[in-house]
């Protein structure tokens, strides 16, 4: 059984913006520094660092190498990199902390979607032999998923619009959100289709951003943070790749990851979900056994990915947002989710608690 006395003690993120002028590493330098400062530690106390990013998003092979400059990698550090959202970097760092020989670990994630057309880039994530040649872009794929969800009877277009209205209303109190405001559900439903049955507002914004999280063990965590966000469970699972061979109206890998992370269906104060398209929020809530309105659970108080979608950071941002609410005392039990791959192929669940 993994240790449960590892906690998030500090964090920082950039605002999510449409087009950041600083380079990816320039976004990371102040972000990592701010997290280190919040923890009140010297960089040298960090025993392991793990970064998450995507070369193709940045647009150059070995693009991740520059990001090392934000990690303070001189003298040399113990460090690794995942070609994935920063949430998976956090998973690797959390795993490394389990071994007990180090007390503090840093994970960060970063991505700039602004230089490219993300729909073109992520189309190249599909099976190169059977799917990519079809020219399927992620938004059209999400449209197919939304249609399947409607056809299954599990959701309506009004449900999609309600997700969007809730996301943007919640984002009003999030200074890092890109899209926020009060929206009328009927007015949203009156908008034209973009990829039917999806409307433009069902699709995430194009975003640039970076995020860093510092974790610590046991007494070190208590020393660095008056109310650490304890990681009670962390797990990730992947499904078959081809959307044609899985039920895209549900997310079995999210349900499995949640179970493996120790989520027993008990009450949650907050969930933060990487629902990139509005129908996915409904799919994820269903996978977690939560009602569409969350019931007593607050859904995406930050506004979620629909309010700001810095790919490769957005999943770790969800964990940050959940942890922040435990650290500030406004929540005691929270669940955060990150995703990767087409139509929720891969999912990570992090269960957090206050002491």
């Amino acid at each position: 059984m993994p240790a449960t006395d590892i906690a998030i003690v500090a964090y920082a993120q950039t605002p999510s913006v449409r087009d950041a002028n600083p380079s990816e590493v320039q976004l990371l330098v102040p972000t990592v520094s701010a997290a280190v400062e919040m923890a009140g530690i010297d960089r040298r106390e960090i025993g392991f660092t793990c970064a998450g990013s995507c070369d193709y998003l940045t647009g150059g092979p070995f693009a991740f190498v520059s990001n090392l400059e934000a990690a303070g990698a001189w003298p040399p550090i113990s460090e690794s990199h995942v070609e994935a959202d920063g949430a998976w970097a956090m998973y690797e760092a959390w795993m490394r902390l389990q071994e007990g020989d180090i007390d503090i670990a840093l994970a960060f994630g970063s991505g700039k979607s602004s230089p490219s057309n993300p729909a073109e880039v992520w189309a190249q994530q599909l099976d190169p032999y059977y799917l990519a040649p079809l020219g399927l872009d992620p938004v059209s794929l999400a449209g197919l998923q939304a249609r399947a969800l409607l056809d299954s009877g599990k959701a309506t277009e009004r449900d999609f619009a309600e997700v969007v209205a809730r996301s943007r209303a919640n984002a009003k109190s999030n200074p890092n959100a890109q899209l926020s405001g009060d929206y009328d559900v009927d007015a949203l439903l009156a908008e034209p289709y973009y990829r039917a049955p999806l409307r433009k507002h069902d699709v995430p914004p194009i975003s640039d951003g970076a995020v860093a999280v510092i974790m610590a063990r046991g007494d070190t965590a208590r020393r660095l943070c008056s109310r650490p966000a304890w990681i009670r469970g962390l797990d990730h699972r992947i499904e078959a790749h081809s959307p044609g061979v899985r039920d895209i109206t549900s997310s079995s890998s999210t349900a499995l990851a949640a179970r493996k992370a120790g989520y027993d269906g008990g009450p949650l104060d907050v969930v933060e979900l990487s629902a990139t398209f509005s129908p996915q929020e409904l799919i994820l809530l269903d996978a977690l056994g939560l009602p569409k309105d969350g019931g007593s659970t607050k859904i995406n108080p930050s506004g979620g990915a629909l309010a700001g979608n810095p790919i490769m950071a957005v999943g770790l941002v969800r964990i940050l947002e959940a942890a922040a609410r435990i650290i500030d005392g406004s929540a005691n039990r929270a669940l955060a989710h990150a995703t990767g791959g087409p139509l929720l192929q891969q999912n990570l669940v992090c269960l957090l608690e206050g002491e």
């Binding site: 600083p22 380079s23 590493v25 320039q26 990592v32 303070g72 990519a132």
Partner: protein
């Protein structure tokens, strides 16, 4: 075994992805100055090292650097490392003849400029410690179009090359900490 011929199993899948990126603030300033014939860098307020071009931060101290930390360095320097590259052919490669790929440490800088061409000596005469000076292109031919936030381009389109000055070689102590 299938009797399908091998060539029928091969599929061409050519993809074009276009990226548009503005130069970062620091590179944009650096490029403007370069077109005017001035080489600038950032001096770290914490450790005093001079990065050319400035990165907007010091990677050793992990502190931001800004316009306020800008310094100008001369266009003279020392070859600190080099190789002669026999070009490999690939899509987009224009080089066909062996070419010099040298690192030049400008006087007063702490970082080298990589991938520079050296003239005024034969390939056989090229050596570390060689003193060189930038041979600027005429102002109207200078370009910074190849410059990118990924560290590509820049110098190659504003100078023809670094030309050997004929001065005595720099002492190894001067550049041994700045080989590459």
């Amino acid at each position: 075994m299938s009797d399908v011929a091998k060539e029928h199993l091969v599929m061409e899948h050519l993809v074009t992805l276009t990226y548009h990126e503005r130069l970062t603030e620091n590179l944009n300033r650096y490029a403007d100055k370069l077109l005017e014939g001035h080489i600038t860098g950032h001096k770290c307020p914490s450790c005093g090292r001079v990065f050319v071009p400035g990165k907007g931060y010091c990677s050793l101290c992990v502190v931001p650097t800004t316009e306020a930390d800008e310094v100008e360095v001369p266009d003279t320097g020392t070859v600190t490392g080099f190789t002669i590259v026999t070009p490999v052919a690939y899509y987009g490669q224009e080089k066909t003849e062996p070419f010099i790929y040298a690192s030049v440490l400008l006087d007063g800088a702490d970082t080298t400029l990589g991938g520079q061409d050296i003239t005024g000596v034969t390939h056989a005469e090229l050596h570390t410690g060689l003193r060189v000076k930038a041979k600027w292109k005429p102002r109207e031919e200078r370009s910074v179009e190849g410059m990118s936030n990924r560290g590509w381009g820049g110098f190659g389109d504003v100078v023809e090359s670094f030309e050997a000055t004929g001065e005595p070689d720099a002492a190894p102590e001067v550049y041994k900490e700045h080989l590459f």
